[in-house]
């Protein structure tokens, strides 16, 4: 049992049929996903909207059944041994303002801890500690309906950890939170794993920096398929063999040409309206194409304000894999 991975899936597939035949087509939210997450890992799932991240977490947390394939959590089949799975897990979805509005924050958290059979005294102490760490202690006796969205989300994260799960699934836990709140949650996750080396965190996120900073390993998922799965370092190394180039230029008329430029693996750009600059970012097969790009930019009558070879970021990896950025 102890040698079992925290999560293991075999050809896990989930299909959503449209409600009415006329309305839309079948969605293949997960397509033959093979995944193995070890105990003690902080595992990130990164993917664009509709990639299948939430679907995967729902299956792992026994909310949804697979269409085919297998999923095991702590070595237990989520389809048939869901009762045993539920003893070991918890799940939190960010961006969702759930909770019983008539109860106080403490009551809400306490009630859920009781569903997990945690001794009342232990639970209350833990709730106090966590509310303190999350900066919510002054809201302890406030009715949940009076909390702000972010405060509710913090409460929900606490709800996830307060039951002391072996494996916790966090679906975009920092979605929409301000910088401070996000940091509090990230710090908590890291400390929790440090204190409990056998516990496992599986989280999805939209924030590349968050995934990069937090995760031991990351799976990049798109259209229900896992495109890559490795440590942030190794993922970035895959891109480091290429040349990553960033360039600030003025008055660029045509950006589309660079997408299909010879030697360019991926290309993104952002407009900096204030300075009147366009920031270009290229991942190139090698350095030989750089001069062609420079002349193409100059050929459009633009001026190059800066030009840098940079370290690849996780975003570069993502763009290369998925073919587009996250925003």
């Amino acid at each position: 049992m102890d040698q079992e991975p925290a999560v293991r899936t075999e050809a896990l597939t989930r299909v959503f049929e449209p409600k009415k035949k006329k309305e839309g087509s079948t969605v293949r939210a997960l397509e033959s996903v093979d995944l193995r997450i070890e105990q003690g890992e902080l595992f990130g799932i990164l993917g664009p909207n509709g990639a299948g991240k939430t679907t995967l977490l729902k299956i792992l947390s026994t909310l949804l059944l697979p269409t085919s394939g297998k999923a095991y959590v702590a070595g237990l089949d989520v389809e048939t041994q869901f009762n045993a799975v539920r003893q070991r897990i918890n799940m939190v979805s960010g961006g969702e303002i759930s909770g019983y509005g008539l109860l106080t924050v403490k009551e809400n958290l306490w009630m859920f801890s009781q569903f997990y059979g945690i001794k009342s005294k232990v639970a209350l102490q833990r709730i106090d500690d966590m509310l303190g760490e999350f900066g919510l202690l002054d809201k302890k006796d406030a009715k949940v309906r009076t909390l702000s969205t972010g405060q509710r989300q913090k409460m929900n994260v606490i709800r996830g950890f307060v039951t002391d799960p072996d494996i916790i699934f966090l679906d975009e836990p920092t979605l929409g939170l301000d910088v401070n709140a996000s940091r509090v949650i990230r710090t908590y996750i890291l400390d929790w794993l440090k204190d409990h080396p056998k516990k496992t965190v599986v989280l999805t996120t939209h924030y590349m920096a968050e995934a990069d900073e937090l995760c031991d390993r990351i799976a990049i998922i798109d259209n229900g398929r896992i495109l890559a799965c490795d440590s942030p370092e190794r993922l970035k190394k895959m891109v480091r063999m290429n040349t990553t180039l960033s360039m600030d230029v003025t008055r660029l008329k045509d950006t589309a040409v660079f997408k299909t430029f010879p030697g360019v693996e991926s290309f993104t750009f952002t407009e900096d309206g204030e300075k009147g600059l366009t920031k270009l970012r290229f991942v190139m097969r090698d350095e030989s194409g750089v001069s062609d790009i420079v002349s193409a930019v100059l050929g459009q009558g633009s001026r190059i304000e800066s030009l840098q070879k940079t370290e690849p970021t996780l975003e570069d990896v993502f763009i290369k894999m998925v073919g587009k950025g996250l925003e």
Binding site: T62, Y116, G117
Partner: protein, 292 residues
């Protein structure tokens, strides 16, 4: 151990139910909602009865109808209550999935929440009955009540109603808030078929055989026997005819029938619940919210 867990779940769910229902911050609203509303349903019935019969409430049948209507509150409140609990948990509080993935038996949770519904409804039932006795001459006398029968019948009846609520709870997993009609249908079947306001002998023969399968029929009859033995004896032989259709069955047997049909419905309800639960998980309905 498993039993202890279930008891704990029931206790916690009941606690939650109490916190949610008895929102004492507004006792007036609470009283209106949980007592005045159910009583008014009975009073409307009384009013109609008075018009039809020219105000004659001094007979065994009026007591029969009045008590039936008062006790029906339990069925209506619990059956609708369970549905609302699930819809509200899912769509309003968005907590259904959190409760659902907790290591508890979901039906123990529903039982706990229903128990509070029952407790609150009891206040309404008692007040309604007291009003009937004091103001309208309903034939209940504390000295004549068969307390043992009342106790047994109440215990079995409440279990039975919870069991029915459970099946509807499962079905509610699959329905949207606006399709609450199933409960109205089920509650309606009991209203007509179980001798709530008119005896089952008023039904066609084929319908009577359905009545005799339904646990609520026996529950109603045994409750009336316990509460108003005189009136029931009178109705058992009106000019030699058994109006209730059940007076040939002894008190003991009526309890046995109630127990058996509750057990059968328990098995059925569990099957319905398990099935609905499976479908809900397959279709992803646990955290689904209806779009209007």
């Amino acid at each position: 151990m498993a039993v202890m867990n279930d008891l704990r779940t029931i206790k916690n769910a009941a606690w939650l139910g109490w916190e949610m229902e008895a929102n004492w911050a507004d006792p007036f609203l609470f009283a209106t909602y949980s007592i005045v509303k159910p009583i008014s349903a009975t009073l409307i019935l009384v009013f109609m009865y008075m018009i039809v019969t020219g105000g004659n409430t001094d007979n065994a049948y009026f007591s029969y109808m009045y008590v039936g209507s008062a006790l029906y509150m339990y069925i209506a409140e619990v059956l609708f209550g369970v549905t609302w609990i699930i819809h509200d948990d899912r769509e309003h509080y968005m907590s259904l999935k959190q409760v659902y993935i907790a290591p508890i038996k979901f039906y123990a949770y529903i039982l706990g929440r229903s128990a509070i519904k029952i407790a609150i409804t009891t206040a309404g039932v008692i007040i309604t009955l007291a009003f009937g006795v004091l103001a309208l001459g309903v034939d209940i006398s504390l000295w004549d009540v068969d307390w043992l029968l009342l106790l047994g019948s109440t215990a079995l009846g409440m279990s039975c109603i919870c069991v029915l609520g459970l099946a509807l709870g499962g079905i509610t997993f699959l329905t949207a808030r606006h399709s609450i009609g199933i409960n109205e249908g089920v509650a309606g079947v009991f209203y007509v078929m179980s001798g709530i306001i008119f005896p089952i002998t008023a039904l066609p023969t084929w319908a009577q055989s359905i009545s005799k399968i339904l646990p609520v029929t026996y529950w109603m009859d045994s409750m009336r026997r316990a509460l108003m033995p005189d009136a029931m004896a009178e109705l058992g032989s009106v000019a030699g005819v058994d109006v209730t259709g059940l007076s040939g069955i002894s008190d003991l047997y009526i309890m046995v029938y109630l127990a058996i049909s509750t057990a059968v419905f328990f098995a059925l309800s569990m099957a319905v619940f398990k099935y609905a639960d499976g479908v809900a998980r397959r279709k992803g309905k646990i955290d689904w919210t209806s779009t209007y």
